[in-house]
């Protein structure tokens, strides 16, 4: 793979130097540390995993947000995503569907899922790449005989958040070799594809230009360690695939759908770019 050409970078650095004379430049991630509830340390900066060729250090998106937005993640009482998590705790014990079962009938406690989110997505016994939403819907349809949840529904994303929360603080470590390898290659290919009439790839924005402003937005590295995230702009929990879709739509492209195999593969690849950062679910973003 060829390095995406990034001529803007040198100039932008020069520009940042000029700005530094006149006022504080935004630019790089800040130096703040994220400790949630005064106890859970979140790794927001780590050496890039070996498979990444063009980035040395990876950062959580949290490090690029304003102090006000950052503050909402410091204490779960201030984190607006926690309402949804509480609702998911109730759903966990609620019987639904023809089989007369709840999640708790098989899994007793959400805590039994500690560690799971740090290793997702993964390849299942049938050789298929699955993400958390797939595991949840499989339980709902096959074991509970209940209706499946829609990808972006609040019920689904609340449950993804509750299960993710059980791994909060643990370093992400998704497998990219063995049966995962072909999916990972597919996701990587997508990451470097310049989609749409604006011809922009994920890498153009999140690899070549992280730290720079694009119009009013301070570009992060596009990590998914905080997902589902509570987006203040939308005042609800946003799924990973919904974020991918929004970013591709912004390149004036025909997007892919939430729950498509393309987005599963892209999720695996993007997750692997976060190997070493903590699971931060549920994060808060602007």
């Amino acid at each position: 793979m060829k390095k995406a050409y990034a001529p803007g970078l040198g100039t932008a650095t020069a520009l940042a130097a000029v700005l530094a004379l006149t006022g504080p430049a935004l630019g790089d991630p800040d130096d703040d540390a994220l400790v949630i509830n005064g106890e859970t340390e979140i790794i927001t900066e780590a050496p890039a995993p070996e498979h990444m060729e063009y980035i040395d250090t990876i950062y959580s998106g949290w490090r690029f947000r304003t102090d006000e937005t950052q503050a909402l993640e410091l204490d779960d009482f201030d984190n607006p995503a926690m309402l949804a998590v509480d609702a998911a705790i109730d759903m966990f014990g609620t019987v639904e569907g023809a089989a007369g079962e709840s999640c708790a009938s098989c899994h007793d406690d959400p805590e039994s899922f500690a560690g799971l989110a740090a290793h997702m997505p993964k390849v299942d016994e049938d050789g298929k790449l699955v993400v958390m939403e797939d595991l949840i819907n499989e339980c709902r349809t096959d074991r509970m005989q209940a209706d499946e949840w829609k990808w972006n529904s609040l019920d689904m994303q609340s449950m993804v958040a509750l299960i993710g929360l059980q791994s909060r603080g643990m370093p992400v470590d998704v497998a990219i070799d063995g049966p995962a390898a072909p999916y990972w290659e597919q996701g990587k290919e997508m990451y470097y594809t310049r989609y749409g009439k604006l011809e922009l790839s994920c890498a153009n924005c999140h690899e070549d230009n992280w730290g720079n402003m694009i119009r009013a937005d301070h570009l992060s590295q596009g990590q998914i360690t905080g997902f589902p995230v509570y987006r203040l702009k939308q005042a609800t929990l946003i799924s990973r695939h919904n974020r991918f879709k929004g970013c591709i739509r912004d390149t004036q492209a025909e997007t892919f759908k939430e729950g498509s195999d393309e987005f599963r593969a892209l999720e695996l690849y993007v997750a692997s770019r976060g190997n070493g950062l903590s699971v931060e679910t549920p994060a808060v973003r602007q």
Binding site: G8, L15, K197, E199, Q252, A253, T255
Partner: protein, 157 residues
């Protein structure tokens, strides 16, 4: 419809340009990344160019800072600052850069504003849906001329 375009074409001829309407994007002739001939023969309107720099299909300041547009909020830092662009480049070069920057700067992140082929999953503006065919360029030929006319006002010397 037909009558109008004939009238426009007639107007262009009267204006002295040897064009029967704007060239299709694929017919535009680039020389070292520059386009010598006006795409329409109609002088660009710098005021309209200014507003294209800000919004809609242009949105140039998503990536570029321009002091002359300091009244508009939020300029990006992706591309070079455009102050003095008319000192650095000729009109023909600016036309080439705006029409298809990838001829002057291969693989540039800058979108090609007057091109209709070679896209991967082109969409219908920001709807996320497939673009209707045949594809329209991001900016019309006259809009390109308007933006170039605005860029020609960016002089520092």
């Amino acid at each position: 419809m037909k009558t109008t375009s004939l009238l426009v074409a007639a107007g262009v001829c009267l204006a002295g340009a040897a064009l029967a309407g704007p060239p299709a994007p694929s017919d535009v002739v680039y020389e070292d990344g520059a386009v010598a001939m006006s795409l329409t023969g109609v002088p660009g309107d710098p005021e309209n160019g200014r507003s294209i720099m800000n919004k809609g299909a242009g949105n140039c300041i998503a990536c570029h800072e321009v002091t002359a547009l300091a009244d508009l909020p939020f300029h990006g830092e992706i591309g070079p600052m455009l102050d003095g662009a008319a000192d650095r480049w000729t009109e023909a070069e600016l036309r080439g850069i705006v029409a298809n920057a990838k001829v002057m700067f291969p693989e540039s992140m800058m979108p090609s504003f007057y091109r209709t082929d070679g896209y991967i999953r082109p969409g219908d503006a920001y709807t996320g849906k497939a673009a209707p065919t045949p594809l329209e360029p991001l900016l019309t030929a006259q809009e390109i001329e308007d933006v170039v006319a605005f860029l020609m006002t960016l002089k520092e010397e």
